[in-house]
């Protein structure tokens, strides 16, 4: 584990060299540790697959060089903790996307095979990014890895289930986007009006980093 400065009062911690099971377990453990026990002066953290950005208050943490060794040591310890696996969240899906046939042709598969390969695995949420609550899911069967569209669509509807490179994901808002749309879900992955019983804002987001996801095919597709 090491870190590089990322502007004043910010550090990019690298905890893995490549995406994989080991990196994923570390990412989840580090996120959990930063939520439960944030280092002094931490304003915000942004986890990705192999790195996590830490932004500090310059007043409380005047020197990153002084503060980071201890923080790295704590994250290192946290990263070795084995966390119980998150429960599997089921997401209904209908495979009726405009790019389904093209994806099938590109891989010399039938559309039925594409659906089968896509619905089979239990995916993990590697990270949320691109749009509020947008999950990058893996591991996608290598036979389905498909490059993004050369020209992104001006509008992809919320709920679109799509493949971008080696990830699959779910559009959470209507937005321009370049992933290959293979289906859709009625599940509201991001709902700005949803609150938990205690009024908590996190309920807006159906999925969080580390969750496990299984696509369940709806009738008719």
């Amino acid at each position: 584990m090491d870190w590089t400065p990322y502007g004043p009062h910010a550090a990019l911690v690298r905890f893995a060299d490549e995406v994989g099971d080991e990196a994923f377990a570390k990412a989840v453990a580090i996120r959990s540790a930063l939520e439960r026990n944030p280092p002094e002066g931490l304003l915000e953290f942004v986890p990705a697959c192999t790195t996590v950005l830490l932004e500090f208050s310059g007043r409380e943490v005047p020197s990153l060089d002084a503060a980071m060794p201890d923080i790295l040591e704590q994250l290192q310890m946290a990263a070795t903790l084995a966390l119980p696996p998150e429960p599997v969240k089921e997401i209904p899906v209908t495979y009726d996307g405009p790019d389904l046939e093209r994806v099938a042709r590109a891989h010399e598969l039938t559309t039925a095979e594409v659906c089968q390969l896509h619905a089979e695995p239990i995916y993990r949420v590697y990270l949320l990014g691109f749009a509020p609550g947008f999950p990058y899911l893996g591991d996608l069967d290598a036979r389905l890895h498909t490059p993004r569209l050369a020209t992104p669509r001006a509008r992809v509807p919320a709920g679109s289930v799509a493949i971008g490179g080696q990830h699959t994901g779910i559009y959470t808002v209507d937005t321009p986007g370049g992933w290959n749309i293979i289906g859709h879900t009625p599940a509201k992955i991001f709902d700005p009006t949803r609150r938990s019983a205690d009024g908590g804002d996190e309920a807006m987001f159906l999925l969080k980093q580390g969750d496990r996801v299984k696509f369940v095919r709806s009738n008719g597709a």
Partner: protein
């Protein structure tokens, strides 16, 4: 005193509530948002003794028009959009007065503050509108803007007016020299490219908005390396394959897969924000760093 202060007669090219942004939600994929020029927005609030966190209305370029429904103090700072009221000062508005922003002459973003601050709905702790992410909605014709209940603004006794000192009013037509800090891939760029980045003049392109400002110039060679997506910051300078920089702004994505040469100093992001397409910008290193 009525809380109904202003009616939107025309939102112009774009009018949204903004404040200092929403902190702590980037790990859920939610960008910080907030005023693109926090310097000008901050002065609009400061002129009226508002909290620095009070929401203001951010206007894009020109065309906005408001009707005062009640006597009130307002302040307009930022881009010169030929406002019908004096700018960079506290202004006493009478009921039925109109405030118009006719023509953009300089800069991009103009800020309108009202005494006490606008009463705007909060989402994830902030009034900043991030329409693409369904957090808040832009203002439309007919919207009635409210003020936060509280003590009305008064000029201190014996003072005829209040305005921002000249040194704090920026010239948005000058070429800004933006301080940049080395980013995570600084050392992955060749010394020649780092020097080229710092020595040349870049031009702001029309593909610039609240998400990011694209610049054009002599392209660098960021290489074809395949990168795992890493977190982005406001001000991160990314280089896609075409070698032309994109500076991430306040509605930008939270992660990205392009090499990150550096990050524009937080104080200078506001200077870049006010650069219209075609304007030249330069970079210099913020700290003593070996090129």
């Amino acid at each position: 005193m009525s809380a109904h202060l202003l009616e939107v007669l025309d939102p112009g090219l774009g009018a949204t509530f903004q404040d200092r942004g929403r902190a702590g939600w980037r790990r859920f994929g939610v960008p910080p948002s907030g005023a693109m020029d926090d310097h000008a927005a901050g002065w609009a609030n400061a002129l009226l003794d508002n909290s620095p966190t009070a929401p203001v209305v951010e206007l894009l370029l020109q065309g906005a028009k408001f009707l005062a429904l009640h006597d009130c103090w307002i302040a307009v700072c930022g881009a010169d959009a030929e406002a019908s009221v004096p700018t960079w000062r506290a202004v006493w508005l009478r009921a039925d007065d109109e405030v118009r922003f006719l023509r953009n002459r300089s800069g991009v973003w103009t800020y309108l503050a009202v005494e006490g601050g606008f009463d705007a709905p909060l989402q994830l702790g902030s009034a900043s509108v991030y329409a693409r992410g369904r957090l808040g909605t832009p203002l439309v014709r007919g919207d009635v803007l409210l003020r936060t209940p509280g003590a009305p603004f008064r000029l201190p006794a014996g003072v005829a007016g209040r305005s921002v000192v000249w040194e704090e009013r920026r010239n948005y037509d000058a070429t800004p020299i933006l301080r940049v800090w080395p980013g995570p891939q600084w050392n992955s760029f060749s010394e020649k490219d780092r020097t080229a980045f710092l020595e040349q003049t870049w031009t702001v392109t029309p593909q610039s908005d609240r998400v990011g400002y694209r610049l054009s110039g002599q392209p660098l060679a960021p290489g074809q390396w395949q990168m795992v997506s890493e977190p982005l910051r406001v001000g991160t300078v990314q280089f896609p394959e075409d070698g032309q920089p994109i500076v991430m702004m306040r509605d930008g994505p939270t992660v990205g897969g392009y090499p990150k040469l550096g990050v524009v100093d937080a104080h200078d992001v506001a200077r870049l924000a006010q650069c219209r397409p075609g304007r030249a910008v330069k970079f210099r290193l913020a700290a003593e760093t070996a090129v």
